[in-house]
Amino acid sequence: MFGTLMALLRRDLVLALRRPQDALTVVGFFVVVVSLFPLGVGPDPEFLRSLAPGVLWVAALLATMLSLERLFSDDYRDGSLEQLLLVPEPLGLLVLTKTVAHWLITGLPLVLISPLLALQLNLRPDEIVLFMLALLLGTPVLSLIGAVGAALTLGLRGGGVLIALLILPLYVPPLILGAGAVDAVMHGASAQAHLSLLGALMVFALFGTPWATAAALRIMLD
């Protein structure tokens, strides 16, 4: 079983490396959206600082959203998804593996580039570290929940917009907790409660969503 999952992970990562523009678009979108804010609301450092947690999180959320449509649609189009359904392993685990690959390709780069953008919005070093930690806990949740939406809208026309409508409401908890963690530290409080809840959310998504995604895939391919 381990061999199967590693083969799938490797396949997805190799494909992403051979077509790097997909991952780069997501990071580029994140950078551009965050960079537009200072231009729009003015360069006042204190004002930008108070906006920073929300702006960074909303941008990360939208960037993830941008990448979700491709999570299953490429495999669906060339027939690989049918073959994946026939692999003699639990589909939930295969889906989880694909989601992990998706996070490594899109979520992790967002975490890695975020300190630069946080600096641009005048966050202090300790707040930046905490923001990265919150993103590290939060972006897997975004990928996991997003996978359900991607599976449900598979093969539909205008699937991208539909994913946004389906999934954005479900992104509210990670958004509130993630932005709240940074906000708490900015006001001298502890972020422990927010981070614990975010961690709990990640564990919950980790165990719950792959089975929902698998069920959705079976229905969409029926």
């Binding site: 494909l15 026939l86 003699p88």
Partner: protein, 199 residues
């Protein structure tokens, strides 16, 4: 082992019932839209029948250990190949995904026997339609499953490869394998062949 299939689908066909034993081939024929592909997808466990069920031996296929994929190789309309990977990588990764071990020598000799010598290292994107179909066939041959479900396997193949595929089918039947096939072309195959006409 025998595979008994009973199913009824109100829209396309109903009260359909047949059994496939080791060493038998079932050719499903019928006009376009008569439900050939639907039948194949139901047999492979990808779709669920409206009524009835498919059995592998005595067991319903839903409860077969490891899922239907552990006993069948499915070749659908689409080749299920990744454009950015080479033919060899495509085949190797598919075999690993199925839980098997892919030996490089076997992979290369199978690709070679299908007339793909010299094309193994080329991304599939650069291959012609027929060559892609051959890579998909190589995957099927290397998966070594007892049941083959082939949806229009002859599409886009040239005469030489049709001959290779015919030999492979006969060898598979000789090794007590089972095959369900849809095709518009009449290709004569030596062995225990049955025909099912839909529509």
């Amino acid at each position: 082992m025998n595979l008994a299939a009973e199913r009824g689908d109100r829209r396309l066909f109903e009260h359909l019932s047949f059994t496939l034993s080791p060493g038998q081939l079932l050719q499903v024929s019928g006009r376009n839209g008569s439900g050939k592909t639907s039948l194949l997808r139901i047999l492979s466990g990808l779709s669920r029948p409206t009524e009835g069920g498919v059995f592998w031996g005595e067991e319903p296929i839903q409860s077969v250990d490891g899922g239907t994929g552990s006993c069948l190789g499915y070749l659908g309309h689409q080749n299920a190949l990744k454009d950015d990977m080479t033919g060899e990588e495509n085949v190797t990764l598919s075999i690993r995904l199925g839980g098997g071990a892919a030996r490089r020598a076997d992979t290369l000799s199978t690709l070679d026997s299908l007339g793909l010598a010299g094309y193994e290292d080329l991304p599939v994107r650069f291959l012609s339609q027929g060559q892609k179909r051959r890579v998909a066939l190589a995957r099927l041959l290397l998966q070594q499953r007892p049941v083959w479900i082939l949806d229009e396997p002859y599409a886009a193949l040239d005469v030489q490869v049709i001959e290779v595929l015919r030999a492979a089918i006969e060898a598979h039947l000789g090794a007590r394998g089972m095959i369900v096939i849809t095709t518009h072309q009449a290709v004569d195959i030596d062995g225990d062949c049955h025909t099912l006409h839909l529509g």
